[in-house]
């Protein structure tokens, strides 16, 4: 099956991918591709700056709507710096935990109150 290439630089229109709203545009495209059973390659060519907020919206949300295996088998990434890959890994790990255990956040609040 032919891979669709999604140029993050072109979708955002900027080499600084920092705002959550811009991440939403990327998310919408990936979601459409995955829903149609396509494979997508995300190109981070020309990207100078990424924030966790951008990646949470662009990538993290996928774990709410799709199974981990489906994401793993449908998405690939190219032209990403080692630092950005580390951030991406952190975002996907956090997202998996978040969607697997919705009570986790409430429990963490109880822990803080327990310290009081």
């Amino acid at each position: 099956m032919e891979e669709i290439i999604i140029s993050i630089f072109n979708v955002v229109g900027n080499s600084f991918c920092v705002e959550a709203d811009d991440g939403q545009k990327v998310f919408d495209l990936i979601k459409k591709a995955l829903q149609e059973g396509k494979k997508a390659r995300l190109s981070f060519q020309n990207i100078e700056m990424l924030t966790s907020a951008f990646l949470n919206t662009a990538i993290g949300q996928l774990y709410r709507d799709f199974e981990e295996d489906k994401i793993k088998s449908s998405l690939t990434v190219k032209d990403m710096t080692p630092e950005d890959k580390a951030l991406m890994k952190r975002v996907t790990t956090t997202a998996k935990l978040y969607y697997k255990d919705p009570e986790r956040m409430e429990n963490s609040i109880k822990e803080i109150l327990g310290e009081a």
């Binding site: 600084f16 920092v18 705002e19 959550a20 580390a86 991406m88 935990l97 956040m105 109150l113 310290e115």
Partner: protein, 287 residues
């Protein structure tokens, strides 16, 4: 007329307490003249916090008047554009140590981008820093700015910085006049955390008030970087104070509340630590 004096304001708990005092003394004023004097010193990056407070007074149709600004302070807070928001002329910074005061709407991310490029990335007079260090500093500033955009429900975000060549530091402050950590967390989880508890909760990795989207990475990244850089973070929200520096974390409670949140970041510019990663995440392992 209400008269207040800010005496020797530095980027410390005591400095913030004085700003909070000025806010609390005037927060209910309507159609008053509020006269503000400065004595000894005022850390220019704190213009971001003062600007947020003064705008609260302007919402009450009060008139702000500055009196007795020592020339040294006036020169800096005029050069960084702060005073031009309050009836003063703009000056050019000939010493090149200011990072301008900026007030912008949360939706104006594009203006913030231009500001970061002009005021930080393309400043030849800033000390020599490795590209990786510069990138980490910029990333930290963006993470905090985006947090204010997403979480604070503020009308405006205020930013300002100052470069201290002798101390080899950059101070950068981002302020919002939104709902604050405490109200945000308590609203989301229907709890009754204090400001300090809410801040302590929020700085932990993976903790986020966002509904339906994971998060809570930005502050954790900032903490890690600041620890390695041996800089400092301060978070002031309502009556809560949090500081992380080389001596660790400390929290305190103010008398009175700040109307929103201030995040101050201190970066060491003569940091020689390496920020390149020793091991790399494989592309196959990203998802």
């Amino acid at each position: 007329m209400n008269k207040d004096t800010l005496t020797n304001i530095d980027t410390s708990f005591e400095g913030y307490q004085q700003l909070i005092n000025v806010y609390n003394q005037n927060k209910d004023s309507l159609f008053e003249t509020i006269e503000l004097s400065f004595q000894q010193w005022f850390d220019a990056n704190l213009c971001a916090a003062l600007g947020g407070i003064l705008d609260k007074f302007l919402n009450g149709l009060n008139t702000i008047r500055f009196k007795n600004i020592p020339p040294k302070i006036q020169a800096i807070i005029q050069k960084n554009d702060f005073l031009s928001h309050f009836g003063y002329k703009r000056l050019v910074d000939t010493h090149n140590t200011t990072i301008k005061y900026l007030k912008l709407k949360p939706t104006d991310g594009r203006f913030f981008h231009r500001y970061v490029v002009e005021e930080l990335l393309n400043r030849p007079e800033l000390p020599d820093m490795s590209p990786a260090l510069k990138k980490k500093i910029t990333e930290s500033i963006y993470e905090i700015f985006v947090n204010a955009q997403i979480h604070s429900e503020t009308d405006f975000i205020y930013t300002c910085g100052q470069f201290f060549p002798n101390k080899h530091t950059i101070e950068f402050t981002i302020t919002d006049t939104g709902i604050g950590f405490k109200n945000r967390v308590n609203k989301r989880f229907e709890t009754n955390l204090s400001s300090v508890q809410a801040i302590k909760w929020a700085v932990n990795e993976g903790h986020s008030t966002k509904l339906g989207i994971s998060g809570g990475i930005g502050l954790a990244i900032l903490k890690e970087f600041i620890t390695k850089n041996k800089g400092m973070i301060q978070i002031i929200s309502d009556d809560g104070f949090y500081q992380l520096d080389a001596e660790g974390e400390q929290t305190r409670q103010f008398s009175g509340s700040f109307p929103g949140t201030v995040v101050n970041m201190q970066f060491l510019t003569n940091d020689t630590a390496s920020y390149s990663l020793t091991s790399e995440v494989s592309l196959e392992d990203l998802f």
